[in-house]
Amino acid sequence: MPTLDMSTTPLREVNVTLQQAAKSQANAVYEITNPRGSHAVAVGLDGPLSVTVKGSTGYYCAGMNKTATIRVEGSAGPGVAENMMSGEVVIEGDASQYAGATGRGGLLNIKGNASSRCGISMKGIDIVVHGNIGHMSAFMAQKGNLVVLGDAGDALGDSLYEARLFVRGTVKSLGADCVEKEMRPEHIEILQDLLDRAGADAKPEEFKRYGSARRLYNFNIDHADEY
């Protein structure tokens, strides 16, 4: 397995190597050692590559990922898997703020906790957090699914659009226009699939579903007090 040691290999060389391998070496497996909190590690990959990062990363690890599978054996800094298009990103530890921000596809699987604004403005990505998430998560979330096995902080789903939020634990408070919704069979099916894909030990029936009340979809002066 090719190994890129970031104690001796510059970031530029790491990303060029991975980006080229993603295009030319289908299903190749790479390992990155000594990431030492580096920013923008394994960004812009576009192909079925498998990358394991042995340690914690800084900002924007796996940003704009397409197709590739990236596993961080540590924690991830802000904006992990931001604007991910497809593929899978696994964080074995915790994720800092803005995890999965604006993501448009793929699965972001966070085995620990995620900080504030997890899934902010998400546009189709699926995010599974095995622990808790911080405040203002799923703010202005448009599409996709956010699954939280633990608790959610303040103002969950503020100004939510069509994203689905599933929380097993408590929700400290809901944001503007976010309401609890009925868990119908199709939601159980979606949730079961996500839990299976994330390797999460939980049953869909243990979760509550939250979504948009759609009261703020078109401007109405009578709703101005809600935000």
């Binding site: 970031l11 530029r12 990303n15 060029v16 980006q19 920013h39 923008a40 960004v43 812009g44 576009d46 800084g58 900002y59 924007y60 940003g63 704009m64 397409k66 802000p78 904006g79 931001e82 604007n83 298009m85 803005y98 921000a101 604006t102 448009r104 604004r117 902010i120 403005s121 546009k123 189709g124 703010f139 202005m140 448009q142 599409k143 100004s159 659009y161 069509e162 979809y217 078109n218 401007f219 002066i221």
Partner: protein, 441 residues
């Protein structure tokens, strides 16, 4: 019997008919006024400056014979592939969604014919636009509507939008009337709902974070693309300095006359600084950092003709950008649609309800029938013509001031007509060698 003499009815300056009409409108609807465009109030502007021309101490160039270059290169600081433009006038970012597909195509056609760049907007990159724009700047906006790495890579430059002159500190709203299936699909949102564009980026706060964000964008695009940072005219000295610190190749500075697709009138008219007041502080910041001309400065907001271009360049800009003027060149607010403007309760030249999607000129609309009114080929030619005229005008002035490149225009070529303009532009009042705040006085 003689009538008692009476004074004429006297209108209040404070409570003018226009002010009173807005009070009545607000009282009737309970909603603030939303409109497109930039500030309509009179603010000190380029009209308040004049060029001095050549004289005993300046040697002019022959108008129809001697060369006066206009080319500009943007993105020379870090990018492997800077943008080379034939003229120092670019087309500003305007979204597909607020503008029709044919209008975006026309902007691309016109810019390409004139040898310059055009810019996407808050709705992502369309095929019409990419296909007809030889040089296309891809905006990286807080909403990230349609954002994807493929479009990033096929752009010629990336513009991180922090703010815009019409509404520094504000986001946007594209009302449901304009959200067709295509627009909604590009933005990953349902058809027909009002689409809020966030006022701040979702995954970074402040210049330290932005520096890392720019690193990510460069890593994704192989360090090829120039990275612009666009700021509204709020605190131009510090905004420019922080943009440089964050790693910008180009700073785009948009004054309050710069347009928007839609926001509150009170925002447009009461937040931000006039374009004229923004340029010198921004240039000063670049000079203090030793970055003037290494990080290029693009100025926008109320640029209308070659004289405005020349004045912006003389104050230290490397290029200008036009939005409203480009739309007018395409056919926006054309008096030939006067009857239809009247039917909408307005008149040609004043139409600014772009958010309603009922534009008679077929530019700020998604209505299929209205869109057909704009021929993108003919409109693109009009834009090309207009850009050419602006360039010729700018060259005319530069030659008269003795310069063989428009970038050689300098503050010493100018005088100011008003105290306000003199103070803002730091240009001596005409007939003096003094401006308010000049050191040593």
């Amino acid at each position: 019997m003689d009538k008692t003499p009476q004074t004429d009815p006297r209108q209040s300056w404070t409570f003018s008919n226009s002010v009173n009409s807005e009070i009545r409108r607000a009282a009737a609807t309970g909603i603030y006024d939303i409109r497109g465009g930039g500030a309509k109030r009179r603010v000190p502007h380029f009209d308040d400056l004049l060029f001095l021309g050549a004289s005993m101490s300046r040697y002019p160039l022959e108008g129809y014979r001697e060369k006066c270059e206009t080319s500009v290169t943007l993105g020379t600081r870090f990018a492997k592939k800077p943008i080379e433009l034939k003229i120092p006038i670019t087309i500003a970012g305007m979204s597909f969604g607020s503008l029709s597909g044919p209008a975006k195509e026309a902007l691309g056609r016109g810019a390409t014919l004139a040898g310059t760049s055009t810019t996407t907007g808050d709705g992502g990159m369309t095929e019409e636009e990419r296909g007809h724009s030889q040089k296309l700047v891809y905006q990286y906006l807080p909403s990230r509507y349609g954002m994807n790495p493929d479009d990033l890579r096929r752009a010629d430059a990336i513009e991180v939008v922090v703010g815009q002159g019409a509404k520094p500190g504000g986001g946007g709203m594209l009302l449901g009337q304009k959200i067709t299936e295509r627009v909604a699909g590009m933005r990953d949102l349902p058809v027909g709902i009002d689409q809020r564009s966030a006022c701040r980026h979702p995954d970074w706060t402040g210049p330290d974070d932005l520096e890392i964000k720019i690193l990510e964008l460069r890593e994704i695009t192989n360090w090829e693309k120039p990275i612009y940072i666009k700021v509204g005219g709020a605190r131009p000295y510090y905004d420019t300095a922080l943009a440089v610190k964050a790693g910008a190749d180009v700073v785009v500075l948009d004054g309050m006359q710069g347009g928007t697709a839609a926001t509150q009138d009170v925002f447009i008219e009461h937040v931000g600084q006039p374009t004229l007041a923004c340029i010198r502080p921004a240039v000063q910041a670049l000079q203090d950092l030793g970055m003037h001309r290494e990080v290029q400065l693009v100025v926008s907001g109320g640029i209308r003709n070659g004289a405005d271009v020349a004045k912006a360049l003389a104050l230290g800009a490397d290029a200008v950008s036009i939005g409203t003027a480009a739309l007018i060149a395409l056919g926006d607010n054309d008096p030939k649609w006067e009857a239809e403007y009247n039917a909408l309760g307005t008149t040609a030249g004043a139409y600014d309800d772009w958010h309603e999607g009922r534009d008679p000129a077929g530019i700020t609309t998604q209505d299929p029938e209205l869109m057909k009114r704009l021929d993108p080929i003919a409109a693109g030619r009009r834009l090309r013509n207009y850009l050419n005229v602006m360039t010729l005008e700018c060259q005319t002035i530069a030659r008269a001031c003795g310069h063989n490149h428009v970038h050689n225009l300098e503050p010493e070529d100018l005088c100011a007509l008003t105290m306000e303009a003199a103070a803002m532009a730091q240009i001596p009042l005409a007939g003096t060698n003094w401006y308010p705040g000049k050191p040593g006085f």
